[in-house]
């Protein structure tokens, strides 16, 4: 129990530091262009509006005071109001969150469903021609930036074949292309990682023991090698989260999927800084959560206390 308490405290401290760092970063970024009031007010604001903002945020006061107020605001989750429609920035972000979570879950699920078996199989099959061809294919696929793949998929399935819709989030059929596109961001890298892990495990002595006891190859791969190979993969999946976020941002924009990524791009283009600020904050927290969770998961899954060498 005491161990958990200590870990919990440490995690909270880490999160706090991370958020503080992010907030500080945002604080200084705002001042990069000179007058933060203009950034927050937006390009179309009248001079008296700018002055009002300056007073409200306290930009006419000393830097320390400004910093304190800014940090206080952000940490109490007051991100200001959207410059586009006046709704509180945080509300806008939270409204868009479910759509992103849906897409993220679908994409991640799809990726794991495809990448894990593929990586396992490739790692165990070194010489066959099919494996070589698959590897070459993967290499090519990695050369396609995610959004290019998405566009090509749209071109093929939505435009030419008209099987699937090209825009929006209108029901299961509209989930397919976006989910597949995001998955294409993550899958190639993950497949290679799992493949490398599996290839490292297959020559192990305990695999030889299993063979010596008559275990069929298939079972060896999935029940003896896989747990070892995938143990290392848990950490890797967590590391892919950053890629996932990037993929979500771009793909949501392509498909006009009403999630956080789309909101981020819209807000960036519209110079709606309060919303951009809120989204950045949320994403940082999300990344931290994911990192922590994967770390915890890895520790729980590995019967040994340390991390297994690849």
């Amino acid at each position: 129990m005491q161990g958990y308490l200590k870990s919990g405290l440490r995690l909270t401290l880490d999160l706090g530091l991370l958020l503080l760092g992010t907030v500080t970063l945002l604080f200084f970024l705002l001042r990069l262009t000179g007058d933060p009031a203009i950034v927050i007010a937006g390009p179309d604001a009248a001079p008296d509006q700018i002055d009002a903002i300056r007073a409200e945020y306290g930009f006419d006061q000393s830097l320390i005071v400004q910093y304190a107020r800014y940090v206080g605001n952000l940490l109490s989750l007051d991100f200001g109001e959207s410059l586009v429609d006046g709704t509180p920035a945080l509300v806008k972000v939270l409204d868009a969150l479910p759509a992103t979570l849906l897409l993220g879950a679908l994409a991640m699920g799809l990726t794991l469903l495809v990448a894990l078996p593929a990586g396992l199989w490739l790692g165990a099959t070194q010489r066959r021609g099919v494996a070589r061809a698959a590897r070459a294919g993967l290499f090519l696929l990695q050369g396609f930036p995610g959004f290019v793949t998405a566009l090509l998929l749209v071109q093929l399935f939505a435009i030419q074949l008209v099987w699937l819709p090209a825009l929006g989030a209108s029901g299961p059929s509209s989930w397919v292309l976006p989910a597949v596109s995001v998955a294409s961001f993550l899958a190639p890298k993950l497949i290679r990682l799992v493949e490398a892990n599996t290839a490292a495990v297959m020559p192990a002595d305990f695999i030889r023991t299993a063979r010596a006891n008559g275990v069929p190859e298939r079972e060896i791969l999935y029940r003896h090698a896989a747990p070892n190979a995938l143990l290392g993969a848990v950490a890797l999946i967590g590391a892919q989260f950053a890629n996932l976020v990037t993929g979500l941002v771009i793909i949501e924009s392509i498909f006009a999927w009403p999630g956080i990524g789309w909101l981020l791009v819209q807000s960036t283009v519209n110079l709606d800084f309060p919303v951009v600020q809120a989204i950045t904050f949320i994403i940082v927290i999300a990344v931290f959560l994911v990192n922590t969770l994967t770390d915890l998961l890895q520790r729980r899954l590995d019967p040994r206390l340390g991390v297994m060498p690849a």
């Binding site: 760092g21 945002l26 290499f139 050369g143 396609f144 090509l152 771009i250 807000s267």
Partner: protein, 266 residues
């Protein structure tokens, strides 16, 4: 296999050299990409005078492709250079371990790694506005942890090896040790990382300009071309396929080189 004889390496380098030549030769060809000829809208590739066809405003796609090439190579190149310089610097400091700064640097690096590159880049450009320098510095400033991580790890191990040797043999100043012994040892990994990073920067930049972030309005970047092609996917698919092909080609070229270097040095 020696790097020079690896056929994939040759292919990759060959492609890159061709692209670099094209990029440099651009202005010499002297076409005006914004020469809008509405009568020549949406001509397919291999139409007379337009090897890659024209876009929705009648602009020669081949010329726009060339301009985009210059932009892409220039942004990816400089961004990689900035990330390389900052990252290597930070990495060396973190690896040296002696100075109290090293610990702080390690923390900063860890923090920077937690933030998704793309989100940060978008946020920054939202604040500072568009433009070549905005994009280049943002991408460089946001991605340096990649280099820092690798340099820190490698330099640390090199330091402990070389330093022990050198300290035992002669009174060598740390700077000399750094320059003459540690840095050369870093070259292989940095080369591999540089190649892959260039490809990543290229993809990131084209993604940003695809979304309308970073490049000045109306600039002929590949990302912008891809974005514009979306309205004409049914009637003029080449407006998508040609720039897409260009992006993929460059990325694959750098991936080939990176892979070949990795095989050579592993």
């Amino acid at each position: 296999m020696s790097a020079a004889r690896d056929p994939w390496m040759r292919l990759g380098l060959g492609l890159i050299a061709t692209l670099a030549l094209l990029a440099l030769a651009g202005p010499l060809i002297g076409f005006d990409p914004d020469f809008i000829r509405l009568r020549a809208r949406l001509l397919p590739p291999l139409s007379p005078g337009y090897p890659f066809g024209t876009d929705h405003l009648g602009r020669d796609i081949a010329v726009r492709l060339l301009i985009g090439l210059r932009w892409s190579m220039a942004t990816a190149g400089l961004a990689t250079l900035i990330a390389f310089l900052i990252g290597t610097g930070f990495g060396l400091v973190a690896a040296s371990g002696r100075w109290p700064v090293a610990g702080l640097v390690r923390q900063v690096t860890a923090l920077a790694q937690a933030l998704p590159v793309f989100v940060l880049a978008a946020a920054i450009i939202a604040i500072v506005g568009n433009g070549y320098w905005a994009v280049v510095t943002t991408l460089g400033l946001v991605t340096w942890p990649v280099f820092a991580r690798v340099v820190a790890a490698e330099a640390a191990s090199l330091f402990s090896r070389e330093y022990v040797l050198a300290a035992g043999m002669m009174q060598m100043s740390r700077t000399r040790l750094l320059v003459w012994h540690v840095m050369p040892g870093l070259v292989p990994s940095l080369a591999v990382l540089g190649a892959f990073h260039f490809a990543d920067m290229l993809i990131a930049e084209s993604a940003l300009s695809f979304l309308g972030i970073g490049a000045p309005l109306g600039a002929s970047t590949w990302g912008a071309m891809l974005s514009e092609s979306r309205a004409y996917l049914l009637t003029a698919p080449w407006t998508l396929l040609v720039p897409a092909g260009a992006v993929v080609t460059v990325v694959i070229a750098f991936n080939l080189v990176g892979d070949a270097l990795r095989r050579r040095f592993a």
